[in-house]
């Protein structure tokens, strides 16, 4: 609405033609006369009209190409980031970055982006959306969709002057030449459009409101299942039955002859915690039997070896490299598997033990205090400790099936570190860390004292209340 109403609202000149040939001839004339801002309107596509009007080839294909390549790149970068970097997840045993799996999405996004590029690029190039065009004001222009052909010269063209254009179009043999003026019809948006718009917005909120309502209210009706096969997975759990296999077991036994990952890794010493050279020297039969037993176990044919006799030559060292990483791993694994009974510090006061003691279960055998000197490496070699973790002792079950060999040794190393930590003099701590340790100890003592005081106070208050 930048045009002032006082100014002449001359938008250009339109001429009507009755045949394609006369239109094309007129187009050529107008083009040759040097007019650039022209347009033709026809009821059907006309071959060669671009050339006749001197319209340059569109850059739309380039927009389309760039959009398409953007789509390819977006898809590839997105999938590589999601699947190969940010959230690595093994799918069908393929590498995290497997190009063939990414191609279908890349293909689709290429098409999608290219189509968007073509569609919206066309809008942009044509100045769409445009709800009205001044040529619509011409009383005869409606026939452009029926049986007439129109040629239009815009008044913003450099060469435009009213008389000249009228004369030029007259020469082309057009019977009807008319000035295109501003559309005088009201430009206000009709009121009912606002109502429709408001109603649509309101209606579009309803589904969201329904979802939100359901999220915050309770209902006694069973929930609605959108994806029943996802809510009730047909996959079987362990110990369940299935008609799929002859033995009706959902849980499949190992295939004979297969070796699971981590199985049979490392030497026999690392696997059993027994000094094999020494054992072979004293009892070659037992050594051979042990080897055979482990090989059979790998083949899935017999049970694991029986508990070795107590004169076993246990390893007196840890056969894997002990470093900070191993100790950290040992601490983590100890925390997961051991601490529930033995306690985080190994004092035998884990949560399970606390509860069992409280409830006075008569079958409960209290777990060992790992700081018992009988369990120190002098009397309880590393190999034996390993064997205990592996095969269990008394009420404690063996952990061979749950903890990997390497991790069992890591726990052994961590238990040794725990034992050392309880009785270590300050001077084994490096000089630069001594102050830190002292401060930590002071803080811990202080903390303990406070806790005791608080407990005493609470007890006193309770007593008071009871009285």
């Amino acid at each position: 609405m930048s045009e002032s109403k006082v100014e002449a609202t001359d938008h250009g000149m339109v001429a009507e033609f009755t045949t394609v040939d006369s239109l094309l001839a007129a187009c050529r004339r107008v083009r040759d006369a040097g007019y650039i801002k022209t347009d033709a309107f026809t009821p059907f596509p006309v071959h060669g009209i671009d050339k006749a009007l001197g319209i340059k080839p569109t850059i739309l294909p380039w927009i389309c190409l760039v959009a398409g390549i953007t789509g390819t790149m977006t898809a590839l970068v997105m999938q590589i980031w999601m699947n190969s970097i940010d959230y690595q997840y093994i799918i069908s045993g393929k590498p995290f970055l497997s190009l063939p799996a990414f191609i279908p999405v890349a293909f689709e996004l290429t098409i999608l982006f290219a189509a968007f590029g073509a569609f919206f690029g066309m809008w942009a190039l044509n100045g769409l959306p445009k709800f009205s065009n001044p040529v619509f004001t011409d009383p005869r222009f409606d026939r452009a969709t029926d049986d007439r052909f129109f040629l239009y010269i815009d008044s913003s063209d450099e060469r435009y002057d009213e008389e000249g254009v009228r004369a030029l179009l007259g020469e082309t043999g057009s019977d009807y030449i008319n000035k295109v003026v501003e559309d005088e019809s009201p430009k206000q948006v009709p009121k009912f459009i606002y109502s429709v718009w408001a109603l649509s917005v309101a209606a579009s909120i309803i589904p969201l409101l329904c979802v939100l309502t359901m999220r915050v209210t309770n209902s006694s009706k069973p929930r609605f299942h959108i994806f029943p096969d996802m809510d009730f997975s047909p996959a079987r759990d362990a110990q369940q039955t299935t008609s799929l296999f002859g033995d009706n077991r959902a849980m499949r036994p190992d295939v004979p002859g297969t070796v699971a990952r981590g199985q049979l890794s490392g030497s026999m010493e690392a696997l059993t915690g027994i000094d094999f050279d020494a054992l072979t020297a004293v009892d070659p039969g037992a050594a051979a039997q042990l080897v055979a037993a482990y090989q059979d176990e790998a083949a899935g044919t017999t049970t694991p070896p029986a508990e070795p006799v107590d004169d076993t030559p246990w390893l007196d060292h840890i056969p894997v490299t002990v470093d900070e990483a191993l100790l950290a791993r040992g601490k983590q694994q100890f925390g997961i598997y051991c601490s529930v009974c033995h306690g985080m510090s190994g004092l035998g006061n884990g949560l399970v033990n606390q509860r069992a003691t409280e409830k006075q279960f008569d079958t409960w055998v209290p777990p060992s205090n790992l700081h018992d000197t009988a369990l120190y490496s002098e009397t309880y070699p590393d190999g034996k400790l390993f064997s205990t973790i592996t095969n269990g002792v008394r009420k404690m079950a063996g952990y061979a099936s749950q903890i990997e060999v390497q991790d069992r040794w890591a726990i052994v190393a961590y238990v040794r570190a725990l034992q050392l930590s309880q009785n270590a003099p300050l001077d084994v701590v490096p000089a630069e860390k001594q102050a830190e340790v002292k401060a930590a100890v002071e803080a811990a003592k202080e903390n303990l004292k406070r806790q005791e005081e608080a407990a005493a106070k609470a007890a006193a208050e309770r007593e008071k209340e009871q009285n």
């Binding site: 040939d21 094309l24 596509p45 006309v46 071959h47 080839p57 294909p61 393929k94």
Partner: protein, 424 residues
Amino acid sequence: MSEHAATKLKPADDPAYKLPACLGKFQLPLLGGGLALLLVGLFLAFSVQSNEDVSMPRFGFSAYLTAYLYTLSICLGCLFFVLIQHLVRAGWSVVVRRIAELMMIMIWPMAVLFLPILFAAFQENALFAWTNPDYIAEFVPERAWENKKLFLNPTFFAIRAVVYFTIWCSLSLYFWRGSVLQDETGERAATDRMQLWSGPAVMLFALSVSFAAFDWGMSLAPMWFSTMFGVYFFAGSILAAHCFICVSAFLLQRCGAAKDEITVEHYHDLGKYMFGFIVFWTYIGFSQYLLIWYGAIPEEAEWFYTRQLGSFAGISIALVLLHWLLPFFGTMARTVRRMPAVMALWAVYILIMHFVDLFWVVMPEARVGHHAHVGGALGVIACVLCAVGLLGLVLGLVLRMAASSHVVAVRDPRLRESIAFENF
């Protein structure tokens, strides 16, 4: 629209519709040279096979099969081109349809040239591994073979081949005669009849080509199967057919025939189809690969695994880059498609890549054991000579047929429309 009225048709006996002499003179050299090259190629191929160092007992006939499938795929592609133009009542393609028809009718000599392959099917281990009991015993599980042998046996193989050629020969003859007789009579009803029959013809074509591809391409690896293989072969064929039409039209015009009839618009359209079918071939090839790669079932994956080893690994990568990526971007631009000489060059290039494609399909199966190889430089040369020779032989026959008829369907009712055809 307006140009339709303006287009003047030349009389049907105008020299512009005849095979130009500068092409016609190649007839005998092509026939003789083609035959000679084919024989030399076969000799070399069989000498590679008899070389003690390489264990490729099926190399000789495989080289012939590669050449044969290469030539046949262009003929079949042209047959399909003709069928589909009639089916959709295409107007634009009338000026180039005769080129396709000339190649389509070559299915008749191709039926004769199939005899060596039929012969090989009855020889133990000459071409198809399934003719070799030792191979079957070693590589095909007994259970699978019990079922497969019902299909993969020489007798049934021969019966099927007869069925395929009966279909193709009848179709090509029907559409050839319809078009050539119309040159004389100008009968409009001939076009209507061909349109009517093109529907059932396309269905017969689709089934027969699919099964022929299973028989002659897929069964080379008896344990392997891919339901997409027929489409894959077809995709290459139709691509090659458009390239063949494009380059033939260009040569005809260079020699002065159909100079005013075939315009840049027709190259533009052929270029669009070439571009489209490059993508189609890639789409089908990749889909076939993706499913097998994802499933990773040994009996399926083995076919691609073989092609990831040794020199075939390079060819596999080259197919992706040179059969798809390069011509994809090369033929993408409208400007390029409107340059007949450039499109003709791309057409030749794609025809060469189409040979590489079929070489990659057939030749790895000439081996024994797991490691396929191309048979050294001599093996490659032998295969190329066979293909060039066989194609040359057939092109010689094409020229012979062209000399006795026209190179444009001169009295087709849509000829005027076709000449005036314009892209938007």
